[in-house]
Subunit: 217 residues, 2 copies
DNA sequence: CTGCACGCCGATCTTGACCTCCACGGCTAT
DNA sequence: ATAGCCGTGGAGGTCAAGATCGGCGTGCAG
């Protein structure tokens, strides 16, 4: 009875089996295949056999490129964690107008969840958060993003570090959750409008703290 | 190599082995033990042996009360999902002053994550979201809470249903994420103050939409 | 006193997933 | 052209964890 559905939606045909690739290219291809499978099934439900088959190779080659399943997962995770952190930092540095900063950051989250192959699931919906190595990566993303936001808040409001961090986590969390829920609702509102709406919400909320409130038009 | 740490922090001594209990009491005790283990280790890392040992019984007893591991998990999940939904609904119904509604709701999330044994992890940090039954429960919580908030927003702002839902998910997500992150930071800010701060943020944000903005003092 | 029912336990089975061993085919240097 | 080498493939080992079977002790009805 317990057997769940084993058939997966194959978004792309399985690669022809037997082509020889240079090492680097093969590695990247394996990463791509692994990402598709991990995103579709999660870490635990994903079997190494699935990934190998998806890539059109046999299992030993997989193990010649990655020591184990966890390493493979971590490689992907690191990649996408770094991507989000950089994206958020860029957004915050893209302008000095704080309202535009909020907008750009919000948009960064939306762009991130819309990115290729739903890779954001590895970061935001991982089913391996009990593994310390994974937990560390995910926490790092949350913290680095929150701190980046916190720096701006602390400087422009004069709130304590702890209070600023609380607000920053809140805004980061808001962006993350709402972007996911927006995607999950099949984009029931156009992206621009959604970003605009959330920016209004967040900006009005954050702009009201001490040092602000005054300089707004 | 892959062997992770097997030793768990035992927050409470293992029950003495050999006491006979009536069926109902034993079932409740098993639920309690299971919750402790699932919270501490997550679903996958938690072994039925661990739960049995924690409860001070042998494995067959466990299977005489629950058909399988998943059923045990779902029983706990249902329980705590319903608790949060009810808590949020109560908070929203506790007053007709919208700012106090925000405050009460925010406080409900904080109270929830502070509750006994960190049961909120089962709902907010489950590592079994790929299981449809679990996904369904967790989505239900998010949706029911968002809809409850959405009802208030839609009525008091005149925004479209889709837009209101977006804001509602955002506020729910904000509360959830920030409550978790606050707990994770070892309550670096007193709970009252944190709730107050977040309420300011959320209220200023949400109060600025169409039909509001006017009637605030 | 005695048989019965209930709850409980030690020991075992089986499945499934991660991870390696022996045979094959295409490229290169002479 | 031919011999060697390197990467590939299928089949199998190992082990952990979920799920189960026969026996034991205790308390109560008759």
């Amino acid at each position: 009875m317990g057997g769940g559905v084993t058939a997966i939606e194959q978004t792309e045909a399985v690669r022809p089996r037997g082509t020889r690739l240079p090492r680097r290219a093969r590695r990247n291809q394996l990463l791509g295949a692994a990402q598709e499978v991990f995103v579709a099934q999660g870490y635990h439900a994903a079997a190494m056999d699935d990934i190998a088959e998806r890539a059109g190779v046999s299992k030993p080659v997989l193990y010649q490129h990655f020591p184990g399943k966890l390493d493979l997962y971590l490689a992907l995770l690191d990649q996408h964690c770094e991507a989000l952190i950089q994206s958020v930092r860029s957004a915050l540095a893209s302008t000095s107008d704080n309202k535009q900063r909020v907008r750009a950051t919000m948009d960064a989250y939306f762009a991130y969840v819309e990115d290729d192959g739903g890779a954001f699931r590895l970061v935001f919906e991982s089913d391996l958060t009990n593994e310390p190595a994974v937990r560390e990566r995910v926490d790092k993303v949350t913290n680095e993003c929150a701190e980046a936001i916190c720096d701006v808040i602390a400087e422009d409001t004069g709130l304590s570090r702890a209070e600023s961090m609380l607000l920053a986590s809140g805004l980061g969390g808001l962006a993350q959750v709402v972007a996911r829920s927006w995607l999950h609702s099949d984009r029931s509102v156009p992206r621009d409008q959604a970003v605009q709406l959330l920016t209004s919400l967040a900006w009005r909320g954050i702009a009201g703290f001490p040092l602000h409130g005054i300089e707004q038009h």
